[in-house]
């Protein structure tokens, strides 16, 4: 057996140790095969009186192997997906019907399939360790626990607790797990096996309540119980909060609703059917592929060129102590890196450092960090106005004002002090890296590292390769990002790079709708209906109209007539230049900000942009998604992007493109390139050339190609736990 071993003991209580290859135990075909064999052995061997299930890892079991599940949509029929769920379901059923009591001795986190295994055991004993969390987080990957999890949790914890845990996907620490009755006992580390054996020694009944004749399903009376009926009504309303694009919450709610009314095995079968529907739905594939497989691969260096030794940044210089610089300084110091934070005077630099003090202070307040550790992080940041302090830095990140001349000056001053090996990174979000690199003595060591705001919360870093940036510099930049535990994507230099460029499509599409008579609330709600966290008009208010208009003005200055201004320019100019409203900072553009009250769409909009009937919500939703997806396709065509993974990760983590799509490229692939092109042609006819597919994309459609190759998703060898 590869994934576990069964050790018999003189007292009759066998120890089953889960110990798969790799860092964690996961549910996969090998595990199921082993467990089936072990269960049969336990059932048949009279010398075995009971089983203690434990793990040889620091965690108990992390869940299903997502590397396998991600292929469900492409490779499995619904029947096969159901059979897949049924095998794992039967495995758990065999455990609880083996005639011997099983105890899950949970020594560390038990999530997803791992906790389903524990639920199938006759008793769950959890180690008293805050890291030993338990839960069923499948909803986060567009799935449900499909091997008895919804049914057993519903019966054991009751409908309300089960729905809370299943729909939120949250995991709970030992004290709460005990309170919710999803574990039976919490014991100190080291006492697990003893406690398990002590329970087995009491000679517990190995028959589960639902296997006793006469057992009645908890909600057998169905909707004739008004309280239950009302609870499902509220739950159905509650899942509307997560929108209408995600199939998993409804499937979970359905599984619990039906499961609690039916005999146990019928309930399991129904749960398996809902699981099969989700596994063969592209949404689960899309979420798993981008948010787990691609993300982990990117963090482990998928885009790092080979052949360069691992680079460790010990000292970093951050130039500019504004909001971005302050954030970069904080995350660097937090990763154990010495930071020199430079601005025009020490007081300004100190203000930047104060940001770290504020963030750390909150963590200490919440009890998430000790004062000592906070002090240590803070001590690593040296605020200064003297570039000489950059001596010895392995890398600098420039985050000064977005102005070519100021940046050039900064580059020259820094390079005068920096050691030869140091990487010079600019955090610019708008200026071409190759152009900024002209000020550098060593443009091959010049790179773009585009952090997102707020830096400590946004996982993404967009790495921009200038024309002369070397592979070695890329490797070093990625190593620095790995030190920060952030997620990199790598793009080639171009106006707006990738994320800013495609994000512009979203805000311009929203602004353009205003001139077409779409009510402003509809513009915002249509974006939210596709799953964008914030509407484009609200985004514009936060950004101020100056920012997108500056990008346009710059492009016009550089390209003249060759440049086609984006769709929302006229509305933005009118708002700022004629109506005199440019953003929240100056009192509001599309919104009003009443003191002490909630922001409201500005009532004057109707006068300047009269509302017309005839808008169609579905059409608006399509426009948002297609505008962004089409611009992403152009980025791939122009080699601004080199991989679909970079595109999808950038979309989800850069500007909040909805996760159910998997990202802008997965969105196209899910629709199919041919159908995407056809629909885009229709949109181009109605709304303009921004939707027009290129010859390159048409050719892809004609050849029947997709952006992802089916094998690509599962190339990573190591298991990816849920």
């Amino acid at each position: 057996m590869e994934t576990m071993r069964l050790d018999k003991a003189a007292d009759g209580f066998a120890i089953l140790t889960l110990d798969a290859e790799g860092a964690m135990n996961v549910v996969n075909d090998a595990f199921i095969a082993d467990m089936e064999a072990v269960t049969q052995q336990v059932a048949e061997d009279d010398a075995i009186k009971g089983v203690v299930v434990m793990s040889a890892k620091t965690t108990f079991m992390a869940g299903a192997d997502l590397k396998q599940l991600v292929n469900g949509f492409e490779t499995l029929s619904v029947d096969e997906a159901y059979a897949f769920a049924k095998r794992a379901t039967d495995m758990h059923r065999a455990i609880e019907r083996s005639g011997k009591p099983w105890v899950a001795a949970i020594n560390g986190l038990a999530l997803g399939g791992g906790f389903e295994l524990a639920l199938a055991c006759h008793r769950r004993i959890l180690v008293d360790d805050p890291k030993a969390v338990v839960g069923l987080p499948e909803v986060n990957v567009g799935l449900l626990p499909g091997s008895g999890g919804t049914v057993r949790l519903g019966i054991i914890a009751g409908m309300k607790t089960a729905l809370d845990l299943l729909l939120s996907g949250r995991s709970v620490a030992p004290a709460e797990a005990l309170k919710l009755k999803i574990v039976d006992q919490v014991v100190p580390a080291g006492a697990l096996v003893e406690a398990a054996k002590a329970w087995l020694a009491t000679g517990p009944d190995p028959v589960k309540p639902w296997d006793v004749k006469g057992w009645v399903p908890p909600q057998k009376k169905g909707m004739t119980v008004p309280e239950d009926s009302a609870a499902y009504m509220m739950a159905a309303g509650g899942i509307a909060k997560s929108g209408y694009n995600q199939p998993a919450p409804l499937a979970i709610l359905n599984a619990v609703f039906h499961g609690l009314q039916m005999p146990f095995d019928k309930a399991l079968a129904v749960e398996g059917k809902y699981f099969a529907k989700l596994l063969t739905n592209p949404v689960s594939r899309n979420i798993i592929r981008t948010t787990f497989i691609s993300k982990l691969a990117a963090e482990k260096g998928a885009r790092r060129p080979e052949g360069f030794p691992k680079f460790t940044v010990k000292k970093v210089g951050v130039l500019g102590a504004g909001m971005m610089g302050a954030g970069i300084a904080y995350v660097s110091a937090n990763a154990g890196i010495e930071v020199v934070l430079i601005d025009r005077d020490t007081a300004t630099a100190q203000k930047g450092k104060d940001y770290s003090a504020k963030v750390l202070g909150k963590l200490v307040e919440k009890g998430k960090l000790t004062q000592d550790k906070a002090d240590a992080v803070l001590a690593r940041i040296t605020p200064a106005d003297d570039f000489a302090l950059l001596d010895g830095c392995d890398l600098v990140v420039e985050a000064v004002f977005e102005d070519t001349a100021i940046k050039a000056e900064t580059t020259r001053k820094a390079e005068a002090v920096l050691p030869e090996h140091a990487v010079y990174a600019s955090n610019t979000s708008t200026l071409p890296i190759s152009q900024l690199a002209q000020a550098s003595k060593r443009p091959d060591q010049f790179i773009g590292l585009h952090f997102f705001s707020p830096v400590d919360r946004m996982a993404l870093v967009e790495v921009i390769m200038g024309k002369q940036t070397s592979k070695e510099t890329l490797a070093k930049g990625l190593d620095y990002i790995a030190q920060l535990r952030k997620t990199p994507i790598v793009v080639n230099d171009s106006r707006g790079f990738y994320t800013s460029r495609v994000f512009q499509m979203l805000i311009h599409e929203g602004a353009a709708m205003l001139a077409q008579g779409v009510p402003p609330a509809v513009i915002e709600n249509a974006a939210k209906a596709v799953g964008m966290p914030v509407g484009p008009l609200a985004l514009l208010d936060e950004l101020t109209l100056d920012l997108p208009l500056k990008i346009v003005d710059q492009a016009i200055a550089e390209e003249g007539d060759a440049y086609t201004p984006p769709a929302g320019v006229a509305v933005m100019r009118r708002m700022r230049d004629e109506i005199g409203r440019s953003g929240r900072k100056t009192g509001g553009a599309f919104y009003d900000y009443p003191e002490g009250g909630k922001k409201r769409l500005w009532s004057g909009l109707a006068e300047h942009f009269p509302v017309e009937d005839g808008w169609d919500l579905e059409e608006l939703k399509t426009r948002y998604l297609y505008a962004q997806a089409m611009e992403t396709a152009r980025c791939l065509e122009e080699n601004v992007l080199e991989t679909p993974q970079d595109a999808d990760l950038g979309a989800l983590y850069g500007w909040g493109f909805p996760s159910w799509t998997g990202g802008t490229v997965s969105y196209i692939d899910t629709i199919g390139v041919a159908r995407f092109v056809q629909e885009a042609d229709r949109l181009a006819q109605l709304y303009g050339p921004r939707f027009l597919p290129s010859a390159w994309l048409r050719e892809k459609a004609a050849k029947g190609e997709a952006f992802y190759t089916p094998a690509q998703a599962s190339e990573t060898r190591e298991a990816v736990p849920a």
Binding site: M223, A230, G238, A240, L250, P519, A521, A529
Partner: protein
């Protein structure tokens, strides 16, 4: 064949709570007392009746099992009188009358009684929840939201402020009090008696005469909790033009929770001759319709037009309009849609003041309109109700 209204009766409306005057009276007993009253005041030979349809919005528990048949037998009617239960949410009471009329129209029956009963104090609201609210696949798929959210959506879309809806409620209370003071309801009220034969209630108990804008202003919006729990998201999915829902409805400008019953005696001309009764009016047309189910309260205008068309009439032919006051915004929307002046609609107040015993209300307000047509010596009335899940019903009556 024409369908004539020979008589109608209703109970007073008791507060729909355990301390309400009618709480000790079962639903079947309320219907029984009304059936007896109809028999007695018309000296009716009940063997002339073919069918009794009594509906309710909660046909479960004591209200289940074809209550009409049980009441017929309890009231000592001829055992040949059939019974039937219908359920079309709040449209039930009027629809039961329409269905009796339709059977007369078709020649299927000669005479019958239609109406409804609801003891809201004795049957828990939600007993009859059903798939539309609580089967997750159905509720989510059809964008179900509680009715109060629908009322607040109407107010938001149409721009009715809290003052608008409260002012409507104050008016309803004033008109109801005025009607009671002047005995406008006397003809049809049958006081409910207890088992000793003592009168338990002879007036509508829910009314709060003297309600003012100031007193209503103290009440908190009732449906914001539902909105924040997720139904705001449902509402916006269906109505993306909503930036924020204005929560303006509360107990004081929504229909009251009460117990009560109402019945209408309908028959052919031939029945009247046999029974020695003179028709008071006739049912000219009736209609049912479905409308957008998330708001679920906007059917009245569409179903009224449908009933007008079925009767070969125009809105201008209607003298008095009666729309059940489910929520203030429902009536305000209807008046706007149908262009009805204040002095022609719900002239004696409505459910905001007197209460809305769900399945019974339709039969009650048909009677109210007929009484008022007679009192004012007018000819034509249109009665309509919105109902859950987007349903709506209407009937047009005229004096003969």
């Amino acid at each position: 064949m024409e369908a004539y209204i020979y008589d109608h009766v209703r109970t007073p409306r008791g507060k729909g709570r355990p301390d309400g005057a009618l709480h000790e009276v079962t639903s079947v007993e309320m219907a029984t007392q009304l059936l007896k009253a109809l028999q007695e005041r018309n000296a009716l030979d009940t063997a002339l009746l073919d069918d009794v349809i009594i509906g309710m919005a909660q046909p479960v528990g004591e209200q289940g099992g074809v209550l009409a048949r049980a009441a017929v037998l309890q009231a000592g009617y001829a055992q040949t009188v059939a019974g039937q239960q219908i359920h079309r949410f709040c449209a039930t009471g009027l629809d039961a009358v329409s269905l009796i009329a339709a059977q007369v129209h078709s020649g299927m029956i000669q005479a019958g009684i239609g109406g409804g009963v609801e003891s809201m104090s004795r049957t828990t609201m939600g007993y009859d929840s059903g798939a539309w609210t609580s089967d997750p696949a159905v509720a989510y798929g059809n964008y179900y939201a509680p009715q109060g959210i629908g009322a607040d959506i109407i107010a938001t879309l149409d721009g009715y402020t809290r003052e608008d809806v409260d002012a409507f409620a104050v008016e309803s209370q004033r008109k109801a009090a005025h009607a009671w003071q002047n005995g406008y309801f006397e003809k049809s009220i049958v006081p409910v008696k207890d088992i000793l034969g003592k009168v338990l209630l002879d007036h509508d108990e829910h009314m709060r005469p003297g309600t003012t804008l100031e007193s209503l202003a103290k009440l908190k919006p009732a449906f914001e909790g539902f909105g924040k729990a997720g139904f705001e998201a449902v509402a916006k999915a269906r109505y993306p033009e909503i930036e924020d829902i204005g929560y303006v409805h509360h107990g004081g400008n929504s229909s009251g929770i009460v117990d009560g019953s109402g019945l209408v005696l309908v028959g052919s001309l031939e029945f009247g001759e046999k029974a020695g009764l003179k028709p008071r009016g006739r049912i000219r047309s009736y209609a049912n319709i479905g409308s957008e189910p998330t708001i679920m309260l906007t059917a009245p205008a569409a179903v009224s037009r449908k009933a007008l068309k079925a009767g070969g009439m125009e809105a201008g032919d209607v003298d008095l309009w009666e729309l059940n006051e489910a929520f203030a915004s429902v009536v305000l929307r209807y008046q706007r849609d149908m262009d009805i002046p204040d002095e022609r609609i719900n002239v004696n107040g409505g459910a905001i003041a007197m209460g809305h015993p769900l399945g019974a209300t339709g039969a009650m307000i048909l009677g109210t309109v007929l009484d008022e047509l007679e009192r004012r010596d007018l000819n034509t009335g249109l009665i309509t109700l919105c109902a859950a899940n987007g349903l709506g019903t209407a009937a047009i009556i005229e004096r003969v």
